[in-house]
Symmetry: C2
Subunit: 507 residues, 2 copies
C-alpha cells in the first residue's frame, strides 16, 4: 500500500524502467513467467485484454472479407527450406520435435523414444504451411482473392525473454492472402496495416508511426514490410504490428499458381500480417504510471469497479442493494459493441482494496457509502487523473454519461501519449547531436536516452549497420508521410534528397 508521496510500484519508471515494467505486471496480476523457459502464463486480467483486442480485430478483419481457418502447429523442416531467406530468419530459434513418445530409460527416467523420420518444427510463423494449403486450394482466378486469418500460438526460441514483449511462445493472429495482381496484394498490405493503426490508436490509445522497414529490418522473405511503431515511456520504440507484401516469393516456394482470366498460368501475389500479445506490453508501457497499470477503456478487462463502503453492519443491506442496482443499470449500457463491464468488490480489507484496483488500472472506481446513498450520488475516481480529482456525482448522471466518460479517458490517454511521443522526437542533422541523443546520461540506466531521431540516411545498409553496432539504434521505419528534403546522411555525410527516417532504440 502506498503512503503519501510514495508510489504503489517500486522502483518507479525513473528509477529503473525495465524493473518497473515487471512490477506493474506483477501488481496488476496480468501475467507471470512460467517454469518453462521463456514461456509465460497469461492470467485472467491479462488474458481479458487479449480477448477484447482479438474480438475487435476479428470484426475488423471480417468486415474486409477475411475468413478464419486453422493450420497445423507443426511444420516439416523441408517446408521451411523452400524459401531461402525465410529459413535463415527462423532456423536459429525454433523448437524442434524429434520424437513421438517417452519411454523409461536408465534410472527409470523418461527419455524420448520413437524418433521421427523427419523432424518437425513448432511454427514460428505459417507462411510455408499455409502456402502449401493454398497451392492445393487455388486453381483459377475465380478462387482469388484468398483472404485467410488464423488465431494461434507460435514459438520462437528467445534467449532473453521479457513478458509480453519477447517470449518463446506467444499468441497472435496471422493473416495470409493471395491475389491475382501485384497491385491488389500491395493494397491489401496497406489495408491491414491501417487496421492495426486503428486498433493501436482507437482502442489502445497508443499513437503509432506508420512506415516501411528498410532492407535490413524486413521480414525474412518479404518484398515490403510495413509496420506500426510506438514510443514507450522509456522513449524506446516498440514494433507493434507488421504487414508484409511478399511478392511472388512464397507463391513460387509453395507453388501457388492459378489460371488467369486470359487462361495463362500465373503465380499468385501474397501478403501476410500479424499482431500479437506484444500489444499488451505496448499498452502497459504507454499508459501505466508509478502506481501501476492504466487500462485504455475500450479494451479494459473491466470498465468500472463498485466499492461499497459499510461501516456499520445495519447499513450493509441498504448499501449492497444500491450497489447491485447501480451495477445492473450500468450493464444495460452498451460501449463499443458490448455491455459496460462492471465488478463489485465488497471485500473488507481497508485501503488495500482501493489500491488493488489502482494497480490493476481499471478506468473508473466508484465508492458507495451511506452518505452517497442519502444524496443519490456516487463518488467517482478516474484512474488517469490524480486521486485528488475524485468527486461526487449524481448517480443518474454517472449512469447516463458513463460511455462519454470512458471515451473522454480514452481521448486523454491518447493525447498524453501523443504529446510524449512528440516531445521526445527530434529532427537531428549533426552526427554529434545524434550520438549524444542516444547516449544515456547515466550509464547505469542505459534505458534513459533521447527518443526518436528524425534524420537523413543515404540508403546504404553499411551506414544503418554501423549505427546499430555503435549505438544499438536502428531505423524503425521510413515513414509513409516523409517529405523529400535536402540533407546529409547522419552516418556518412552523403547528400540525399529523400527525406528523413525514424531512428530509435527498440524492443
Amino acid at each position: 500500500m502506498a503512503k503519501k508521496n510514495e508510489t504503489a510500484i517500486s522502483p518507479t519508471r525513473a528509477e529503473n524502467y525495465p524493473e518497473w515494467y515487471q512490477q506493474v505486471i506483477r501488481a496488476s496480476d496480468m501475467a507471470e513467467l512460467s517454469p518453462v523457459r521463456g514461456c509465460m502464463v497469461i492470467k485472467p486480467w491479462g488474458y481479458a485484454l487479449w480477448e477484447n483486442i482479438s474480438r475487435a480485430l476479428d470484426d475488423m478483419f471480417k468486415a474486409t472479407g477475411v475468413q478464419n481457418a486453422y493450420f497445423p502447429l507443426f511444420i516439416p523442416v523441408n517446408f521451411l527450406e523452400k524459401e531461402a531467406r525465410h529459413v535463415e530468419g527462423f532456423a536459429k530459434e525454433c523448437a524442434v520435435v524429434t520424437h513421438h513418445k517417452l519411454e523409461k530409460g536408465e534410472n527409470n527416467q523418461l527419455v524420448p523414444a520413437g524418433r521421427l523420420n523427419e523432424p518437425l518444427i513448432v511454427r514460428p510463423t505459417s507462411e510455408t504451411i499455409i502456402g502449401d494449403a493454398f497451392s492445393r486450394w487455388i486453381r483459377s482466378y475465380r478462387d482469388l482473392p484468398m483472404l485467410i486469418n488464423q488465431w494461434a500460438n507460435v514459438v520462437r526460441w528467445e534467449l532473453r525473454t521479457r513478458i509480453f514483449l519477447r517470449t518463446s511462445e506467444f499468441l497472435w493472429q496471422e493473416g495470409h492472402t493471395v491475389h491475382a495482381t501485384k497491385q491488389e496484394a500491395i493494397e491489401r498490405t496497406y489495408m491491414m496495416l491501417n487496421i492495426y493503426k486503428e486498433m493501436a490508436e482507437k482502442y489502445l490509445a497508443m499513437p503509432v508511426i506508420t512506415g516501411e522497414k528498410t532492407e535490413a529490418e524486413k521480414f525474412p522473405g518479404a518484398e515490403i514490410t510495413t509496420c506500426i511503431e510506438a514510443m514507450m515511456q522509456d522513449r524506446k520504440a516498440l514494433q507493434a504490428g507488421t504487414s508484409h507484401f511478399l511478392g511472388q516469393n512464397f507463391a513460387k516456394a509453395s507453388g501457388i499458381r492459378f489460371q488467369s482470366a486470359q487462361e495463362t498460368e500465373e503465380y499468385g501475389w501474397t501478403t501476410s500480417w500479424g499482431v500479437s500479445t506484444r500489444l499488451i506490453g505496448g499498452l502497459i508501457m504507454t499508459h501505466s504510471d508509478d502506481n501501476g497499470a492504466v487500462m485504455p477503456p475500450r479494451i479494459a478487462p473491466s470498465h468500472v469497479v463498485l466499492l461499497p463502503i459499510v461501516k456499520k453492519v445495519e447499513q450493509n443491506e441498504n448499501v449492497m442493494a444500491y450497489t447491485r442496482d447501480l451495477a445492473e443499470k450500468l450493464r444495460e449500457k452498451r460501449y463499443h459493441g458490448g455491455p459496460i463491464r462492471v465488478q463489485i468488490d465488497d471485500r473488507n480489507i481497508g485501503g488495500a482494496r482501493n489500491w488493488d484496483w489502482i494497480k490493476k488500472g481499471i478506468p473508473l472506481r466508484v465508492e458507495i457509502g451511506p452518505k452517497d446513498i442519502a444524496e443519490d450520488a456516487v463518488y467517482v475516481s478516474r484512474r488517469d487523473r490524480d486521486r485528488k480529482d475524485s468527486r461526487s456525482m449524481p448517480k443518474d448522471r454517472f449512469v447516463d454519461n458513463i460511455c462519454e466518460l470512458l471515451d473522454e479517458i480514452h481521448t486523454e490517454l491518447y493525447k498524453n501519449a501523443l504529446e510524449y511521443q512528440r516531445k521526445h522526437t527530434r529532427d537531428i542533422d549533426e552526427k554529434e547531436e545524434f550520438e549524444a541523443f542516444f547516449t544515456p546520461v547515466n550509464p547505469d540506466r542505459p534505458e534513459n536516452h533521447g527518443g526518436f531521431a528524425r534524420s537523413h540516411w543515404c540508403g546504404k545498409k553499411e551506414c544503418e549497420l554501423a549505427i546499430k553496432d555503435r549505438l544499438n539504434v536502428t531505423i524503425r521505419c521510413i515513414p509513409f508521410d516523409r517529405e523529400p528534403e535536402d540533407g546529409t546522411c547522419i552516418e556518412c555525410g552523403t547528400r540525399t534528397k529523400k527525406g528523413r527516417v525514424i531512428f530509435a532504440k527498440a524492443y
Copy 2:
C-alpha cells in the same frame, strides 16, 4: 452433381460409412488432412462451426464464474511424472521437443541442434502445468474456488487419424478448478458436464447420454470421470465431452495447498473438463445424409443463402436489388445472440450452385427469380427436408418467421437423432443376443452392428476387458439415470442388482 435418385455423396452411409464421412467433409469444404502426419487443416466453413461453438460455450462458462487464462504449450517431462497414472496415460503418444534450433549438417541439410537439457513435451492436456501455477496462486481459502479455462491446441500422437475425431493436433477448451471441499468440486464436475449436455442438445441438436466412466475408461489420474456419449449414424458411440473430479491427486502431485478458515493447511480438490473440435465430427455424423452435411441452425456457419435467378440480363439489377434488400432485412433479425448470418451467391454456374449449398448443409436456401419478385415472395428450401418440400412464401412472412423456422429445424434434427438413438438402443440380457447385436451382418462392413446395448455388468474389470477384447465393445458409461434392477452380468453371469450400463462400439 446428383441426378434423380442419385446422391451427392458417394459412397452413401449404407455403402461405406467411414468413407462417406470423409466425403461429406470434403464436399462441404470443412477441413482436410494436412501433409503433417495426423494434423488437419480446418477450413473456413469448418472453423466457423468451432467459432460459434466456442463463443456459446465461453458465455456459458463465464456465467458460472469461470475466467479464461493461457498456459504454456510446453510441459517439462518432470511435471508429467508427478502423477503416476497420468504419465502412463500420455507418455506413449506425445510430441517431444529436444532441440531449439536447426543447423546445416551433412549434404547441407538442416538438422536439429542446440539440445535442451531436459526435453519438453507439447501439452496433451494441462493438469500438471496449470497445477504448478495454481500451487503458486493459491494461499488461502479466500482464493477459492479458482475457476480457470483455457482455449488451446493440444497434441496426442495418434497412429490412426480420422479428421475431427482423432487427430494428432486438435483444438479444445480445458477447464481447471480448485475447491476447498470435496463436495464443491464434485458439484462443479457435474455442473460443467451439464453445460456440455446443453451445448450438445440445445446447440448441436445431438442427444446425449450422461453418466460415469468405469475404472478402466477413466481419465488417467481422475477419481470420477463423467461424460456425454452420443450415437452416430453407424450406431457407434462418440464420447463428446468429459468432466473429471480429480480428488486431491493432482493437488498432491503439484502441491496445491491452502490455509483453511480454521487455519489448518489442506490440499485443494480439483476438477478438469474439456470438449474439442471432435464435437464437429459428432454433429456431422449425427445429422448429415447422403447429400452431404446438415448444419444445426444455432451454430451453423451461415443460416441462409440467397440464390438470385437471373435469366435475362435486363432483369439483373431488379433481382439483385431485391436480394440485397432481403439480406439486409434478415441481418437485422437476431438469433441466439447474433444476427442472422446471410450469404448471397450470385455465381452463374447452373444447378451446381444449389448443390454446393446442399453439400455444405446450410439450413435454408432461398431462390429469388422475377416470378417471386412479382409476387413479393421467396422460394424456400429446407436442408433437413426432402427437396420436393420446397415452397413459395410471402417475403415478409419469411423474414418475420426466420427465427421460428430455424428453431423448428433445430427441433426436428434433435427429434430425429433421438429417435435414431432410441431405435438402436436395446435392453439385452442374454449373452448370445449380445454377441449377435455387436456382430456385423456383413463382415466387409464391420461398422454395421446393433447400436447401444443396455445390459447388466457385475462391476469387475475382467468382464469389461474380456468383452472389449472379443467384440471391441466397451462400457460407454454407467448412466446417471440408471435404476437398480435384478439381473446377471452379461459376461460372467454373476447376479447383480445395480442396474444396466451402456455397452457400445466407440470412436
